[in-house]
């Protein structure tokens, strides 16, 4: 007898939220902080001092946490199913541990860096 999955809605929700961030926020962030700023544009990435001042705000840190963490879970979910489709589905539980585990480690690392950064 089949039963409704309890874990999939959780991982899928993170995947979906991460997809929104990856599709909408990441390209804008890369454009502003990765291209416009270094080219001399009016964004914090223009020089180190402005970047550092920008990072001082707790809002910036929350923003960066969301920007880093959610796309990691988006990647983890997509990569888990990609590996399953490549013929590794018999290692189902291990794939989940490996992929989501990596995203959790990445998230913890991001949190630690953002909390402890001066």
């Amino acid at each position: 007898m089949a039963h409704a999955s309890r874990s999939e809605p959780f991982w899928w929700s993170l995947f979906a939220a991460g997809g929104v961030v990856a599709a909408f926020l990441v390209p804008i962030h890369v454009l502003l902080e990765g291209i416009v700023g270094p080219l001399g544009g009016p964004t914090p990435a223009a020089d180190y001092d402005r970047m550092h001042a920008w990072l001082a705000s707790p809002f910036t840190r929350v923003y960066l946490f969301v920007l880093i963490s959610l796309p990691l879970f988006h990647w983890a979910h997509r990569f888990r199913f990609t590996l399953a489709d490549l013929g590794l589905s018999r290692f189902g539980a291990w794939l989940a541990v490996l992929c989501y585990g990596a995203a959790i480690v990445g998230t913890a690392l991001a949190a630690w860096l953002l909390i402890t950064a001066p």
């Binding site: 089949a2 999955s5 309890r6 809605p9 899928w12 979906a16 589905s89």
Partner: protein
């Protein structure tokens, strides 16, 4: 002027004689208004009466003439030869299903899965016939109408790489039909469908490749239906976490 022709390379398989399917080439007239099914009927009538395939209505309603045409699942009654001129055209049975003979596939797997999602009106409180019909506004009908247009032609299963790799997947058409009844204002069966629809073999197996919706001849959009069910399932899950004593 001599009649223009086009070649059809057709899968042949007789379970008693052929260890594996083989191809046979036929040459048919290339008429402007002929579809692939016309060509198959022409072959059967004039060249080779042993060719087997399914068809009935010739107008995209019965859903029985689906085949892989040049690798893409199509209704052969709605696929013109001229699209593929000068040819040749490869006509194969629908992918992902066992072949019974030539272009005829065995869809037992789907027939077994379909009732599992209870694609009919489920009522907790059945109104007696004297109570009249269950009434519905045009707006309520509009919510599920698109998903009710499925003709069970199996093109979406032939196009779905997930079904090809994981045959336990309930699949696009059955899940789209479950969604159709979940959206119906007269239906009360969403909870009863959850065990199958929200299982690992149900919506969560889908990786949103979207090919099912691309090949659907009725624009049902099964991929969209499955994603909408995922959102509903995720909201159910969230509700069960923040409101565990709620009525579930």
């Amino acid at each position: 002027m001599p009649q223009e022709t086009i070649q059809l390379v057709v899968t042949r398989f007789h379970p008693d004689h052929d260890p594996v399917p083989r191809f046979q080439t036929y040459t048919v007239p290339l008429h402007e208004d002929w579809v692939v099914l016309d060509a198959l009927n022409y072959i059967k009538d004039t060249q080779d009466g042993t060719l087997s395939y399914r068809w009935s209505c010739r107008m995209g309603i019965c859903g029985s003439c689906g085949m892989n045409v040049n690798g893409t699942p199509r209704l052969t009654c709605a696929t013109f030869l001229r699209e593929y001129a000068p040819g040749p055209i490869r006509v194969e049975p629908l992918a992902n299903f066992p072949i019974i003979r030539d272009l005829v596939v065995d869809i037992t797997d789907f027939m077994e899965k379909l009732p599992r999602v209870q694609p009919w009106l489920v009522r907790q409180d059945e109104t007696p016939l004297t109570g009249g019909e269950y009434r519905q506004t045009p707006g309520e009908m509009e919510r599920y109408h698109q998903f009710s247009l499925c003709i069970n032609c199996m093109l979406c299963y032939a196009a779905c790489p997930v079904y090809g790799l994981h045959p336990e997947f309930i699949g696009p058409a059955a899940l789209a039909l479950a969604h159709r009844y979940n959206l119906d204002s007269r239906d009360q069966g969403r909870a009863a469908r959850q065990a199958e629809v929200y299982s690992e073999e149900g919506i969560w197996e889908c990786t949103f490749v979207g090919q099912c919706s691309v090949v659907c001849p009725k624009k049902v959009d099964p991929a969209g239906a499955i994603q909408q069910e995922k959102v509903s399932a995720a909201l159910d899950w969230l509700k069960s976490v923040v409101w565990p004593w709620g009525n579930r």
